[in-house]
């Protein structure tokens, strides 16, 4: 019965380990492993993943191709930005920052920076990590004033809106990729069709006779939200002197049609994620209002129209630049250092604890592949401190095994059978493994909070990786090692006591047993069976 259970456990462990190894196998194995062996090249892994998004559950293929490396390993820039509320005292900082984060993310993604991280920090700050970007470029991306555009839908002579059907709508330049433009009367536009509207920049002829895009620079920075006589929000806005005739031309031809606002080439969306596109009801020249928005949307739009860009000016509080080449070397050096260290630990364990030590080394391998797989799939941003935490986790995993094996040795010395000694070793060592790991987890939690408070991602990463390490080490050192040991006990390996303990003489016969003072001498029945 028990053997059956252990075999199932072993099967699970093997499956988990194989999955983990396939997941973490590097795409350039020669960088980290002895290069004289032709290692297969890792491809990363794709596996089905469940995504829960606002109640809707979707399945998709999640891809884990490469480890996500922190700035210290990849190079790049880290900025801590603070909302400068002195210039916009009435702004809702919370909402403004959320919007600003969205805008920055959008810009950064368009710039082709992969794996950027933008995080809220405290009440009025943003921490922005931009791998592979130098600080000047980063400051430009983050602090630059965005282009605000007024856009109109593409429409035909009879004011039917052209929507993109069967393809993807593009905004820059406006078009319909792989689909057909279908004319739809305004009244028949459904919510689904909204996303298919082809928005083109609203143009008009300026007083100098030139064709101009109607952009944020023709808008005064004094929009405000008020309420109409039934208490619904109204967004009030005003054009500059140059802008008024432009808007007049645009609204004149758009009457009955919607108008949208684009920031950096992307439509401004409401809290329901629909494009904010109020319908033009009258010709507007210098002053106008937008009705029919929800209170939140009105405030949001007002902020963005005013700022022309970031809803609140951001000040750089902290910036850090790490040279990418330093990072590359560091990764390789640290990985190789870690490998050497782990090898030495395995050698030590095997020479000191014999067969159990070898099995613990195997469990250590399981631990390492699982932890690395978690890092890759989660993904956890790996920093040098994270690598240190990972290696400390190795220490913890080994510690649990050492506790168990020392205990097992003692029980053997007291004359228990091998099976009983091993089981006792696990159960007796458990309380100290639990207590000591809990104290480390407490420290991790505090470190995480500490790092979170001021965006020290290095500290946060360390705490998070150490916590994962501690949790997985409890699984590997206890579950995995125990399964291995239980399965070996049933085999002929268990007959050689010398493979189980180094100092057999102390364990073998009753004569060799030296009872501890204060303890009644017990008769020993050395050996396994």
């Amino acid at each position: 019965m028990r053997g059956w259970r252990n075999r199932v456990l072993l099967g699970l462990i093997v499956v988990l380990t194989v999955f983990s190894v396939v997941t973490v196998w590097p795409s350039e194995p020669n960088r980290y492993l002895p290069s004289f062996i032709p290692w297969p090249v890792g491809q990363g892994i794709k596996f089905p993943w469940i995504k829960i998004d606002g109640g809707a559950i979707t399945f998709h293929l999640k891809e884990a191709r490469a480890m996500r490396l922190g700035l210290d390993l990849r190079g790049g820039t880290r900025l801590v930005l603070e909302a400068d509320t002195s210039q916009a005292p009435d702004v809702n900082v919370d909402q403004a920052l959320a919007t600003a984060a969205g805008i920055i993310e959008n810009r950064v993604n368009k710039f082709g920076v992969s794996e950027s991280e933008i995080q809220r920090q405290g009440s009025d700050r943003l921490a922005v990590q931009l791998p592979g970007i130098d600080p000047e470029k980063a400051r430009d991306l983050v602090g630059r004033t965005a282009v605000l555009e007024f856009r109109e839908p593409k429409f035909d002579e009879s004011k039917n809106i052209l929507t993109c059907q069967g393809g993807t709508v593009t905004y820059n330049p406006p078009g319909c990729d792989g689909g057909q433009e279908v004319a739809v009367p305004v009244g028949s536009i459904t919510q689904q069709m909204e996303e298919g509207i082809i928005w083109v920049p609203a143009q008009a002829v300026g007083s100098d006779g030139l064709q101009k895009d109607l952009t944020g620079r023709f808008l005064k920075n004094n929009t405000f939200v008020s309420a109409n006589n039934v208490g619904l929000p109204i967004l009030n806005f005003e054009m500059t002197k140059d802008g008024a005739p432009l808007l007049e031309q645009v609204t004149n031809r758009l009457i009955g049609l919607p108008m949208a606002f684009f920031l950096d080439g992307e439509p401004i969306r409401g809290t329901d994620n629909r494009i904010l596109a109020p319908t033009v009801r009258a010709v507007i020249s210098d002053k106008g209002i937008i009705e029919g928005l929800s209170a939140d949307d009105a405030r949001l739009l007002s902020i963005q129209l005013n700022g022309g860009a970031l809803p609140v000016p951001l000040k750089v509080l902290q910036q850090e630049e790490v040279d990418a080449t330093l990072g590359e070397d560091s990764v390789q050096q640290s990985v190789i250092a870690g490998e050497m260290a782990i090898l030495i630990v395995m050698l030590f364990m095997t020479s000191f604890y014999r067969l159990p030590g070898a099995l613990a080394s195997l469990a250590l391998f399981v631990y390492i592949s699982i932890v690395l797989a978690i890092f890759k799939v989660w993904p956890v941003t790996l920093t040098l401190a994270g690598i240190a935490a990972f290696v400390l986790g190795v220490g913890m995993a080994v510690d649990a095994n050492i506790l168990i094996f020392e205990r097992t040795k003692e029980e053997l010395r007291l004359g228990r059978s091998l099976v009983a000694a091993i089981e006792a070793g696990f159960s007796r060592a458990w309380s100290s493994i639990r207590d000591s790991n809990v104290s480390t987890l407490i420290t991790c939690a505090i470190l995480y909070w500490f790092g979170d408070q001021f965006g020290a991602s290095l500290v946060k990463g360390f705490a998070f990786t150490l916590a994962i390490g501690v949790l997985v080490s409890m699984f590997s050192a206890i579950m995995v090692t125990r399964t291995f040991l239980r399965l070996t006990i049933g085999t002929p390996l268990a007959r050689h006591l010398g493979w189980w303990v180094a100092d057999v003489a102390q364990v073998r016969g009753p004569a060799a047993v030296t009872p501890a003072p204060g303890m009644p001498p017990q008769s020993a029945s050395g050996g396994g069976e």
């Binding site: 210290d72 630059r144 750089v316 250092a337 290095l458």
Partner: protein
């Protein structure tokens, strides 16, 4: 069986001898050399293609408007420079290209005087190798939060120990002994870095604090393993008295303590020797802290339990104050 508890006075003395230089260094201001994360300012690393003298660099920086710059040689014609917070690096630019910042001014000024820079691969470059800047407002907060984190961690650990050891007689003594061992390790690390700061100009940063908090976790980890065994042996009535019980427990756990620390130290030394420079200080904190943590779990925390039980302090007082002398109880031997 080795008698751990008899010579406890010597262990205390050894601890004191190791701690005192650090404590003295901590008393002499500045006790620790704070990095820019705690004071605000800018640091950058620059590597020149030609040989540059440290004094020449210092006077060049002073001509460029930075007489406050602290220059430290980190390699052959590679320098770590620390200045006040450079302006221009703290303001996001308006539309258009950013105006030349103070950083640009320094970079071009230094290139004019000393020629090209090199990057990490030894290629000619016109930029510093790394650059970081922290404004004063953040640094104040970081300092405060660090303090809160350390205090919070100590309290949480104390609470956990008193809870985990609630079943033993006098859990308060166990908790206090663990905290004293913890302080022992923290003071040793702080003292060592205080001396390093004065001798090598080593600065402390957030990674140092992370290391310190980790050491606190590990110190307690070690102590708990020993205390757990004492707890179990007390329940089983091992030994003739308390000190024998503690001694037996130490003998039973000493192999584990040494082996565990040995493996962790092994890993840390490998990382320290071969790993990147960025976390060198951090690894050093861990290394010192973990060795100290193992020592203190055996030679401080457990010994303090015996000291309390055997009323050593009362005995010491009697010896120091002869008029209170009474026949001392016979010392127990293991």
């Amino acid at each position: 069986m080795f008698d751990f508890v008899r010579r406890r006075d010597w262990y205390y003395l050894l601890s004191l001898l190791v701690l005192v230089p650090g404590i003295i260094s901590l008393i002499i201001p500045p006790s620790l050399k704070p990095g820019i994360e705690f004071t605000g300012g800018t640091t950058f690393t620059v590597r020149f293609a030609q040989a540059v003298h440290q004094d020449a660099l210092r006077s060049a920086l002073s001509e460029l408007g930075h007489p406050e710059a602290v220059v430290q040689r980190t390699g052959e014609s590679e320098f770590l420079v620390r200045t006040r917070e450079l302006e221009g690096s703290a303001a996001a630019p308006e539309i258009g290209p950013a105006p030349p910042s103070e950083r640009d001014t320094i970079e071009s000024g230094l290139r004019q005087r000393f020629g090209d820079f090199l990057d990490n691969n030894g290629n000619v470059s016109n930029r510093f190798i790394d650059f970081s800047s922290v404004s004063g407002t953040v640094s104040e907060e970081i300092g405060r939060n660090a303090g809160i984190a350390v205090i919070f961690a100590s309290v949480a650990i104390l609470l956990y120990i008193s809870w985990a050891f609630r079943a033993v007689p006098k859990p308060f003594v166990f908790g206090t002994a663990a905290i004293v061992a913890l302080l022992h390790d923290v003071v040793l690390v702080l003292g060592t870095f205080s001396i390093f700061g004065k001798v090598f100009g080593m600065e402390i940063n957030t990674m140092f604090l992370t290391g310190l908090l980790t050491v606190m976790g590990f110190s307690v980890h070690d102590t708990i393993v020993v205390f757990d065994r004492i707890r179990e042996n007390l329940r089983r009535g091992e030994g003739r008295d308390f000190s024998e019980c503690v001694n037996a427990s130490l003998n039973q756990t000493v192999a584990r303590s040494i082996n565990t620390s040995f493996t962790v130290v092994l890993v840390l030394v490998a990382m320290l020797l071969m790993g990147g420079v960025t976390i060198r200080d951090f690894l050093l904190v861990l290394l010192i802290g973990i060795i100290s943590g193992t020592y203190s779990s055996i030679f401080v925390a457990s010994q303090l339990l015996v000291t309390w039980e055997e009323r050593d302090i009362q005995r010491l007082l009697r010896r120091l104050l002869p008029w209170r002398r009474r026949p001392a109880p016979v010392e127990t031997e293991g």
